[in-house]
Homo-oligomer: 339 residues x 4
């Protein structure tokens, strides 16, 4: 069996984890090249794994021993690299977001349609998480009737110092934006942002927590609490209120400790603790899909475009303090409506 030769652009924390994954975990793949804006950092990683180093991400994309590309560089560079991959006819797995601006996303969608083939998958990892999959399965089964409300919680123990309020939407809530759309299989028609009382444990530039409210075509109302400095742990919840019952993610932990007058279950510290296994599934499914000709069932460019579009509308809602309508957009026949 010939393996897929993959190059990774971006050797930061998440990039290096993907490099490790491709090298040690994902079956049917050979890591062949890495790229990073820091030559020192990139070369160090390249040497560690005995693969080629490219200063320029585009060069890596064009390289003969690279069949497919993983993009883990900073958000601003995503569009450029994805467009180059489409141009070269190479498969690309791009970390979320597809691109920070709507225009760039649209450019990618247009380029991909023009190329006649789906090359792009966006890294919305939660779709590969077992619990979200079971939740969707239960919703789809119809046993609980139609969904009416979705309550989401996205709590990080802490965020980096450079965070400002809109980043709670563009960097955190974008996961809820994608996963809720995927769970409900519906587009958004409007959004609003409500502020919580501000925790004293952030600087002034970050109003934390907030509640992002979304409305779908059928009228489902979604409230997503985004709390970046929740301190107590990394805690992701989702609760779908349906006509006949409620389906929700459980709070996972492997052990239960009874001690000092309390029953205690560990809570995850970071997103890696919670979703690292979903990454393994995401990468394996991506590689397996390419092996049979690229029939992805993962998030497409269109999904990435819709996420960025919604995220932008939410930022507008945050800034205006008002309800913002989201205009309906016809999904091109090229894409499944919601992957």
């Amino acid at each position: 069996m010939s393996t897929l030769r993959v190059g990774v652009i971006g050797c930061g924390a998440i990039g290096r984890d993907h490099i490790r994954r491709l090298h040690d975990v994902t079956k049917g793949v050979t890591l062949t090249a890495v790229s990073d804006i820091s030559v020192k950092n990139g070369e160090k990683t390249a040497n560690q794994y005995h693969v080629s180093f490219y200063r320029d991400g585009k060069e890596l994309i064009r390289a003969n021993d690279v069949d497919a590309v993983v993009i883990a560089s900073i958000d601003e560079t995503h569009a450029e690299f994805v467009l180059e991959a489409i141009k070269c006819g190479k498969y690309v797995l791009c970390e979320k977001p597809l691109a920070p601006t709507i225009d760039e996303c649209r450019q990618i969608v247009d380029a991909e349609i023009k190329s006649g083939k789906q090359y792009v998958q966006v890294g919305f990892t939660r779709r590969y998480d077992n619990s979200y999959r079971k939740l969707k399965e239960e919703l789809t089964s119809g046993r609980c009737g139609e969904p009416l409300l979705l309550h989401c919680r996205h709590r990080n123990a802490f965020l980096a110092d450079y965070y400002v309020t809109p980043m709670l939407i563009t960097n955190c809530c974008i996961h809820e934006i994608d996963i809720s759309r995927w769970l409900l299989e519906e587009e958004y028609v409007g959004c609003q942002v409500v502020l919580g009382r501000k925790t004293q444990y952030t600087e002034d530039k970050l109003h934390d927590p907030i509640i992002v409210m979304l409305k779908t075509e059928s009228g489902v109302s979604i409230d997503a609490e985004i709390f970046g400095n929740a301190k107590y742990g990394y805690d992701i919840r989702c609760e779908a209120v349906c006509e006949l019952g409620e389906v929700s993610l459980t709070s996972m932990s492997d052990i239960l400790v009874c001690t000092e007058k309390e029953r205690r279950r560990p809570i995850h510290h970071t997103w890696e603790d919670r979703f690292i296994e979903a990454y393994d599934v995401e990468f394996q499914e991506w590689v397996d899909a390419i092996a049979v000709g690229g029939k992805f069932n993962g998030p497409s460019s269109w999904d990435g475009y819709m996420a960025t579009r919604t995220s932008n509308a939410c930022v507008k809602a945050l800034e205006s303090g008002r309800y913002i309508e989201i205009e309906k957009l016809e999904c091109p026949a090229f894409y499944s409506k919601i992957n």
Copy 2:
């Protein structure tokens, strides 16, 4: 020990349960009289318990063998009876709401202040529920830091046919309005109502579920899901998101059954299943407080007034689809700010 002689106005479902409670459960009390608009119904109950029957609630209030009154008649009659009790200088425990209109509530508050003594307690039963008390204790301890958000769920399995949308606020959410104010010890400054997707299991006149959003003086944001026809059971939840952690009510059940590939915990069917014991506590504490001269720590007329005022604002928010500001009102020195 001489016991407190109590009369009950209203022999409907809840009234009869209070009559039973006063007769069989509450210590230090003797049931002496009942009243009901239906002579037949009232007399039947009077005979069952061997007590006097009064056609007119006011007559019962004035009766010599009645020291204190419980009001469980329809909402529209509350003000009239409470005012009469104040006039007669008799203690009164009035089922929620104190009165449906702001004006009536204000009249009661004014009459009570003028009388120079607190005679009135309002039946916000949840304050006597053990789990809400523990939740408040934990919040007050400060171990989790300041509260920032409150997520509430109020789900009934079903509601009576005559329910229209505003009643989700005035009859259901009024509990969340009172208990959240009591938990946070703060007044509300504004409110908004968001519609969920409407369940197909209600008539057109009832848009169910809705989300009532409240904002407090310090900026805490409260979202209270009110779902009157949730079908699967009676489910009350409350989750306080604080600076250092989260405190929430647990989902109670006495047993756990593992069967047919599932772990199952029973859910309450009705509010009686969930809060009946809180009523026992409420009545006992009321009687005990009267025995030592009426030093109530239960919800006062002022609390009842504030609840109706907020509830009215929420109905306006529902009807307008907009955020409604709630004007600040100075609490008279006569009352504790929030009981």
Copy 3:
């Protein structure tokens, strides 16, 4: 309604709690007298509640203003007082055990049969606990098929210094002995005791924890872990393994706290935290049963006798390290087989 006049023998911790209960909580009862071996302690309690004091428990039993008696004195005095109550034709609620020796228990049973009326109820409080009642209801419903195994845990945070190993059976496990027989509605045919590794947090004379194993007529095997110095809290569990599923008590707590990377539910500290409400129910049902002529459905003398008999066999099993057979005994027609 004339109330039942009750005297309490024993003004220790549990006795004083019963006195408070009869005075403040139980409806339809008037506390009229108390007795204690310590005159000072007894008189203090009597003065506090404005009731008569009797040096001699028997005198209290015979007193004209005492209709019924609660026995909360030390175990060794139970038989004497219960026999006196039967002689005087007065109802008696005796704290567990009915008596420490089989002979005394038998004497009581014989005297009661001879008297022609059931006067005695034994204080096996767990039968009044809501969760055990729901567990029995589920077992009786047959939804899970026949019970095959019972796993019990009886954990105290700590025990008094004077405890020696057999007391783990006679003072702690006696609850599991009674409640398991009541749940299964079967008699025991044998028992065995297995030692756990001894905790370092007890003195040599107390081997803690132990596992008491019982076998019933139909072959159900019961293992009851008795751990007197479990340190982390008071934790009572019961898990019935049936042919089609498992039914168990849940671990109760009113709130859930997420903090410091853990989800925490409080655990009870002492038996009072866990079972104090069951005492309220026990006393109320006892008084209510007397009010309608003494048709008790609580634990009878026969149940008390069987418990002491089984407990004695378990002590023999502990001492011998062997399986001890328990001889079958016909239940006199006077008693229900298992109440």
Copy 4:
């Protein structure tokens, strides 16, 4: 990177799953050969994966394109194949048990010691399960003090028709035997078997459920409920009672469904649902250990020997109805005491 070439002996259910795993999941490995006593079955599998087929397992072991062997044939053949692998100097991962008889296990241990190198790993998969690992981590941390008791539950929804009572020990409880020894890092000194009431859902030859009791050197008492036809699901539990608290596996499920007056969490149906991911970890760690020269930290021949030895003693205890002592055996310096 050159990959490890692996052959699999046994193309039954579990064998085929391992074949799929080696082909699709495990990184760094190439499936090169399979063997089965059924030529038809074996050739079909070989064709499906385009690998060589060997009628004789020993031939497969000797084959040039086979570096390491996975044994998934019937228990009776294990010893023969393991001994051949040692003889050929090839690594071998043998499904549990190492061998059904103590003599065969001893022979393997002796041969391996004589060979001078550890070639053998036994397939005790639970050691690779995340929750058991966290449980051990917590025990090892000492935060809960010394372990005193271990309560285990091993419940299958159903067993094959050919099961007789001793197989509850040799096929089911052997997992508890290995994992408890691994958790406690201690050897067993005795055992006993207690019968539960027999479920009516098995034939006479299978007395189900039973409780297997083990005692360790330090005095820890282990009770393992083995219930092969529990009907309601596959449910594995482990609860370590320690001096300062309790540590237990949690009951895992990905979602929670509230419906029809119940909160429901799915229970696993089969062992695959529960432990399939542990197999993936087991295989990957095995392959990775071979890649760095065979420094296994998985269960050794010695562990397999000790498990079979204990399992045999338990069968004796079952048959005799008595406590059976297990003689102490010195661990050869060649092996770690407990891996």
